[in-house]
């Protein structure tokens, strides 16, 4: 028998999509039964009370949580978000109900052994509810009490070789796409770079000293499956410099209908037979392709690597072999001055495991030095770039300006010349001037 009636939530149990309400109820029931004789360290009826609070929110259309900023684990400024229920008497099981962010492995592959260990820990010391995963990428432990925070951290670090993730004015837990682990498009090892930088910058991740949050995300190709270009202060997008590799036999296979276009992604509707002219050549944004005499020709010099042709014919076309990544800077969600997309900063950089990604780290650290010194409180990198100008970013990173940096050149001539750029400098002799110009 449920502790709280939940007539509104119950209506979210029907329908085909997995019901989070059914799942919460299942957890509530498992805790009530406690078949494994777990010594619960937070209230056994936490899930019941959480259902109760949620039902109340569904009834009155408002949240019942308050923020808490003090709680955390000793020495870390991030990884824990404090939460308190504003109806603690009615729902004592969730009166204190903090979130913990657990740093996910790159690529989000798991063994069941690891997941079961995580579950055992979270069953004993928390609500038994998680997010797999949070928006940034962490495993989220949803709901525990203050005294348990250190205990959980101790067990994570001592028994599971596992650290917390970031929150606050920190480097946030970096995340990546599946990359070369299972994708033929990936131009660099996203997992290795993600893991390497995450570990290199553990201090930045745990001990906040930035003006605001900072995110890295790693996309293996311009398809951008982790949306790095839209939501990370520094976005790494795999790319290549040489020619797209073509298998003309496989092209013929697509033309003849032997292979399904776009790896079969459009199989749910009859779009008619595949038309390479209409579906590939004519949609190429640079018009750099031709199909002549049964051969596909690409003028690679004009290609901007948008991935369309490769996506449509993955068996026939593959990215080139001279690979690396582009780095884009300053993406963020709209709060506050409007959303910003990443702006291209480094058109091409090698992703070089052998020297521990030193070139990439050099760029990162120059950007941080600038932002830590010049950034106002709660100013994202993208906003600092807007305030001080893209030129300033190029200056601090010592990157040479190239046309690739802009969509188009400026349409106003108001160039803020610097004194040292102007022949003879700015100090002039007014008396000398007056010799030739009357007052």
């Amino acid at each position: 028998m449920a502790k709280h009636a939940t007539p509104l939530l119950d209506q979210l149990e029907s329908g085909p999509w997995p019901s989070f309400v059914s799942d919460m109820k299942q957890e509530a029931e498992a805790r009530a039964k406690n078949e494994n004789n777990v010594e619960y360290q937070i209230p056994q009826d936490a899930c019941e009370d959480l259902l109760g609070v949620l039902e109340l929110s569904f009834k009155d259309g408002t949240t019942h949580w308050k923020h808490g900023g003090i709680v955390g684990v000793f020495g870390y400024g991030g990884g824990v978000i404090g939460r308190y229920c504003d109806q603690p008497e009615n729902f004592p099981g969730v009166a204190h109900f903090h979130t913990m962010r657990v740093s996910q492995p790159a690529g989000k592959f798991y063994t069941t052994k690891y997941l079961k260990e995580i579950c055992d820990l979270w069953e004993r010391r928390g609500s038994g509810l998680t997010n797999m995963h949070g928006s940034t990428g962490d495993i989220i432990f949803l709901g525990t009490t203050t005294p348990q925070l250190e205990e959980i951290f101790y067990e994570l670090t001592h028994n599971l070789n596992q650290d917390l993730g970031g929150s606050g004015s920190n480097l946030r837990t970096p995340s990546d796409c599946i990359g070369q682990a299972r994708c033929e498009y990936a131009c660099f090892d996203t997992q290795d770079l993600c893991h390497n930088l995450t570990n290199e910058y553990q201090d930045e991740l745990h001990r906040p000293a930035f003006p605001y949050k900072f995110k890295f995300k790693f996309d293996g190709c311009p398809n951008c499956c982790v949306a790095s270009i839209a939501r990370s202060d520094l976005s790494f997008i795999g790319t290549w410099k040489d020619d797209i590799r073509i298998d003309q036999d496989a092209v013929a296979g697509y033309v003849s209908g032997e292979f399904k276009p776009n790896a079969g992604a459009h199989a749910g509707r009859d779009w008619g037979p595949f038309d390479i002219q209409k579906e590939v050549i004519d949609l190429c944004p640079t018009g750099c392709m031709k199909y002549e005499d049964g051969k596909l020709l690409i003028n690679n010099k004009e290609c901007t690597r948008c991935m369309h042709c490769i996506n449509v014919m993955p068996r026939a076309l593959r990215p080139g072999l001279e690979r690396g990544c582009s780095m884009l800077a300053g993406a963020k969600a709209p709060i506050l001055d409007g959303a910003q997309m990443g702006s291209l900063l480094v058109p091409f950089i090698e992703v070089n495991k052998d020297n521990d990604y030193q070139e990439i780290k050099d760029v990162i650290e120059k950007i941080w030095d600038w932002w830590m010194e010049e950034g106002k409180n709660r100013e994202r990198l993208g906003e600092l770039m807007k305030r001080q100008g893209f030129q300033k970013l190029l200056e601090v990173t010592e990157i040479k300006p190239v046309p690739q940096h802009v969509q188009e050149p400026r349409s106003n001539p108001y160039i803020f010349w610097k004194e040292d750029e102007v022949e003879g400098g700015w100090d002039r002799d007014i008396n000398e001037f007056r010799k030739h110009h009357q007052r």
Partner: protein, 382 residues
């Protein structure tokens, strides 16, 4: 309940402390076939909705079955996922960026038994535990934020709106009939801790009433300068208020016309609550994308300024989303994303074809970039 120590000593927090070890190394978790073929993959194919094969230059194949999952997930459910992975996948699995679960096997004959097992499992309430789908030119899982389950500033629920929407569009999770893939995302307030601003369709919770001020308690539990500094539009200032009992207290005055309803002040000071049943609801934004394919990444645009919260299933919201999807499905060209379609036919046609009403709320008036969104040409459609 008896307190069980992990070994941590609260009197000496630094004793024996382990820090800065980061996440587990990804290689520990790779299935054998992934380990052996990393970086060697040649091509992939979607065999049917939710089922992929990747073929390696070594001749190896990996078959992936993708299933949807509620991102709010219990350990009982995770243990069931583990049981399935132990039975079929040698104890390995992965999650996708969009909260799907992927079960991988190394030969074709293992695929059907896995699918049958997954599809046979249902919750007591009747919903699927592991619906197979979410690939290709269809709709995949909706990424979302916390909502009423755990957040202090949401203007709507996240899990609830997502469940209601995915039930409504479920056939497109298991089909690939759309012109291109369609990504729906949900954030429960404008702070967008889930960045939804580049989604084909974004569901966004929005408050419309400025915070109330709990004058009698504000100065007791909040520090005024911190609350005032938290406001991004400088709408707060210190004030003195006379309470009913005649005492004068320090408090905060809100310039209500400047409030953008972000709740940042409430984060600093619980005496400034802003949630409200009538005030809060949903904004719909459309046409964003993050891929660089054919056209550059785009931001989503606001096309519905407000839909009330209708618990528990938000019928007006789901109906409107469905309306947008059907107009897009009927009219867009193959490979064309929702935003590309809207730009090709023109936004005036978008509103005509979707049947959405255009109101003044949809014209940008927020700071400098607004100007660039007005029409500066004589070219438009009647």
């Amino acid at each position: 309940m008896t307190f069980i120590s992990s070994g941590y000593n609260p009197d000496k927090p630094m004793e024996d402390r382990i820090t800065d070890i980061g996440p587990r190394h990804f290689e520990e978790f790779y299935p054998e076939v992934i380990k052996n073929n990393k970086g060697k993959w040649l091509y992939h194919e979607i065999l049917k909705p939710g089922v992929l094969v990747h073929v390696s230059e070594t001749g190896d194949e990996v078959y992936t079955v993708r299933v949807g999952g509620a991102r709010l997930m219990s350990i009982t459910h995770i243990r069931e996922i583990c049981e399935i992975a132990d039975k079929h996948c040698d104890g390995h699995l992965r999650f996708t960026t969009r909260n799907n679960i992927e079960f991988m096997v190394d030969s074709k004959d293992k695929v059907e038994p896995l699918i049958q097992d997954l599809e046979s499992r249902k919750f007591d309430g009747g919903s699927f535990k592991f619906p197979v789908g979410g690939t290709g030119a269809g709709i995949t899982n909706i990424i979302h934020t916390q909502g009423w389950i755990h957040c202090h500033t949401p203007a709507t629920d996240a899990s609830g709106t997502v469940k209601a929407t995915l039930d409504e569009v479920f056939s497109d999770f298991q089909n690939m009939r759309l012109p291109a893939h369609l990504r729906i995302s949900m954030a429960c307030c404008l702070n967008m801790c889930g960045a939804v601003h580049c989604s084909d369709i974004a569901i966004l919770g929005y408050h419309r009433k400025p915070p109330m001020v709990d004058d009698a308690y504000l100065d007791k539990i909040c520090e005024l300068p911190l609350a005032i500094a938290a406001c991004p539009t400088a709408a707060l200032k210190p004030t003195k208020v006379e309470l009913e009992d005649g005492t004068t207290v320090k408090s905060i005055a809100i310039n209500r016309d400047r409030c953008m309803f972000c709740g940042n002040c409430y984060t600093m000071c619980p005496s400034l609550p802003l949630a409200d049943k009538e005030g809060d609801g949903i904004v719909l934004m459309v046409g964003g994308k993050v891929s660089n394919r054919i056209s550059a990444p785009k931001f989503s645009k606001v096309v519905v300024a407000f839909i009330p919260n209708e618990m528990p299933r938000w019928p007006t919201m789901t109906k409107t989303i469905k309306q947008i999807i059907e107009a897009y499905a009927a009219d867009a060209r193959k490979y064309e994303r929702l935003g590309e379609w809207a730009e090709r036919i023109g936004w005036e046609r978008f509103f005509e074809k979707t049947g959405l009403e255009f109101t003044h709320h949809l014209i940008d008036d927020f700071r400098d970039p607004a100007y660039y969104t007005w029409r500066q040409t004589s070219n438009f459609k009647f």
